[in-house]
């Protein structure tokens, strides 16, 4: 109940926003340009079969594959940078510099290389989520306590012991923060990838409807996309609560 109360203001704000949007749209009365929230919901209902069966699965698959690749390769790179100084010196500056590349502008090249298959969309998703995961794992590993490391050494701990019993638990909180950023970005990555060319997908469908001046149908898949983002985010929060349950004791 108390938790619900803390949302009071944000619920009130959203309600005000939606109501004014609804009123504004009805007054303006050009639904092909500026649809009302109720019109978007109606559209979502009308298109439910097409959106859920035809367009949601490829987008969800892109997000899943992209995130998995980012987590595996990003964590592996972070661990090698942490373990070996030369690897850190070689990759860290490149990693930072890669963030100045406008990824969206780079996306067409992936279509050129990987075609209109799912892999060009996965590539964009990986490119956009790789950085937060690598950096958060690396920073997390570096945050492990030096004094604890020395104490473990005096107990006869091996490098492997220190990695699994100290470094990894120390890195987990930071990893989850990075993952929260990455899951929300992954939805954006998948949508951008689909704009460039696809046969199906929520991003692709939204863009196609734009060419048909059906703005309610442009919004409907976007509502669905953000719902996917929110669900992924909540899933990470849930995982975080399980793995870091000790934090609620602090």
């Amino acid at each position: 109940m108390k938790k619900l109360l803390s949302y009071t203001w944000s619920i009130a704000f959203i309600t005000v926003l939606l109501v004014s949007w609804e009123i504004g749209a009805r007054l303006y009365d050009k639904s092909f340009l500026f649809p009302s929230p109720s019109a978007i919901l109606v559209k979502l209902w009308e298109l439910k079969a097409e959106l859920f069966i035809h367009h949601l699965p490829p987008t969800a698959l892109t997000i899943l594959i992209g995130l998995t690749i980012s987590i595996v390769i990003g964590s592996a790179l972070a661990v090698s940078m942490y373990m070996k100084k030369p690897i850190e010196q070689a990759f860290y500056p490149i990693l930072i510099a890669s963030q100045t590349i406008p990824i969206i502008a780079l996306a067409p090249i992936f279509v050129l290389w990987l075609g209109y298959s799912i892999w060009s969309k996965v590539a964009v998703t990986v490119l956009i989520t790789f950085f937060p995961i690598t950096v958060s794992v690396f920073d997390g590993l570096r945050s492990s306590d030096r004094n604890l490391r020395e104490l473990m050494l005096t107990m006869g701990a091996s490098t492997k012991d220190i990695f699994f019993k100290l470094d990894i638990p120390s890195a987990l909180p930071s990893f989850f923060s990075g993952l929260k950023v990455a899951v929300t970005l992954s939805v954006i990555g998948a949508a951008i990838g689909e704009w460039l060319g696809a046969q199906a997908g929520l991003g692709y469908f939204s863009r196609r409807m734009m060419t048909q001046f059906d703005s309610a149908a442009v919004f409907a898949p976007i509502v669905l996309l953000s719902a996917v983002g929110i669900i992924c985010f909540l899933f990470v929060v849930w995982l975080e609560k399980i793995f870091l349950h000790w934090r609620k004791h602090q």
Partner: protein, 256 residues
């Protein structure tokens, strides 16, 4: 004569903060011997090598010259041979008390007798906390957990680095009496760093005074008190005299 469990044979050590800075000599051909079952305090101003002494004994550092013998053996890899209890409790916040305490057993690959650990926790006045997290315990309780973890390394030599310095005065007194009880019960050799002269006098058989830089000879003081002791013993005239002498010795050095 009791067995010697720890011996420094002409040990030298210097410390270098950075590659460009000048090396500072800390120990210069130092000799010391600690016997089985002794309680020895190490006292001296900050920066005179008290903690360095511990880093050398544990094996985190190796001497530039001379030998360190732990239980009669000289080796460059002494890690894992003595129990070390740091100044901060250094409990892992993500582990429960039970999981924290059993860490040394885990690292040695030993079977973890949970029932025995829970029994020991109860002996340490920590009954019922085995499944809670360090953040839920008071400072005094955390130090006791940390001490139990040190005991469970199984080493006969325990090094305690100012373990009570962060506690309030009352908790500290209780913990000192408690420590003496535990020391007698577990039959360990304890080296105890402190900068509190009363604490050193109350706890120790002998006191090592580090009062020169670099240390060439460690001055030894035998505490002329029988056990069991009470705080009141420290008010005896010869103890007050000893304390005065220690203070003037340390002060003449610290004021330089």
């Amino acid at each position: 004569m009791k067995k010697t469990v720890l011996e420094f044979d002409s040990v030298s050590f210097h410390y270098q903060a950075a590659k460009t800075s000048l090396p500072t000599a800390i120990l210069d051909h130092v000799h010391l011997r600690v016997h089985e079952g002794e309680f020895v305090s190490i006292i001296g101003p900050s920066g005179y090598g008290k903690s360095t002494l511990f880093r050398l004994i544990t094996g985190l550092e190796n001497p530039d010259g001379g030998q360190i013998l732990v239980n009669g053996e000289a080796s460059d890899n002494r890690l894992g041979q003595v129990g070390y209890m740091p100044q901060q409790d250094l409990l892992m916040p993500w582990r429960t008390i039970l999981e924290n305490v059993r860490l040394p057993l885990e690292l040695q690959g030993k079977k973890q007798a949970h029932a025995r650990i829970i029994e020991l926790l109860a002996d340490f006045g920590l009954a019922g906390v085995e499944n809670t997290y360090p953040a839920n315990l008071s400072g005094g309780m955390r130090q006791r957990v940390s001490f139990l973890r040190t005991v469970l390394t199984g080493s006969n030599i325990l090094l305690l680095d100012e373990p009570f310095s962060a506690l309030d005065a009352i908790t500290r007194l209780t913990m000192q009496e408690w420590l003496v009880d535990q020391w007698q019960k577990f039959d360990k050799t304890i080296l105890f760093i402190t900068h509190d002269i009363d604490e050193a006098l109350f706890l120790s058989d002998r006191i090592f005074v580090l009062a020169e830089k670099p240390v060439q000879t460690i001055r030894e003081i035998v505490v002329p008190l029988d056990r069991p002791r009470t705080m009141r013993n420290l008010a005896q005239p010869e103890m007050i005299e000893l304390k005065e002498r220690l203070i003037s010795e340390l002060r003449s050095e610290a004021s330089l």
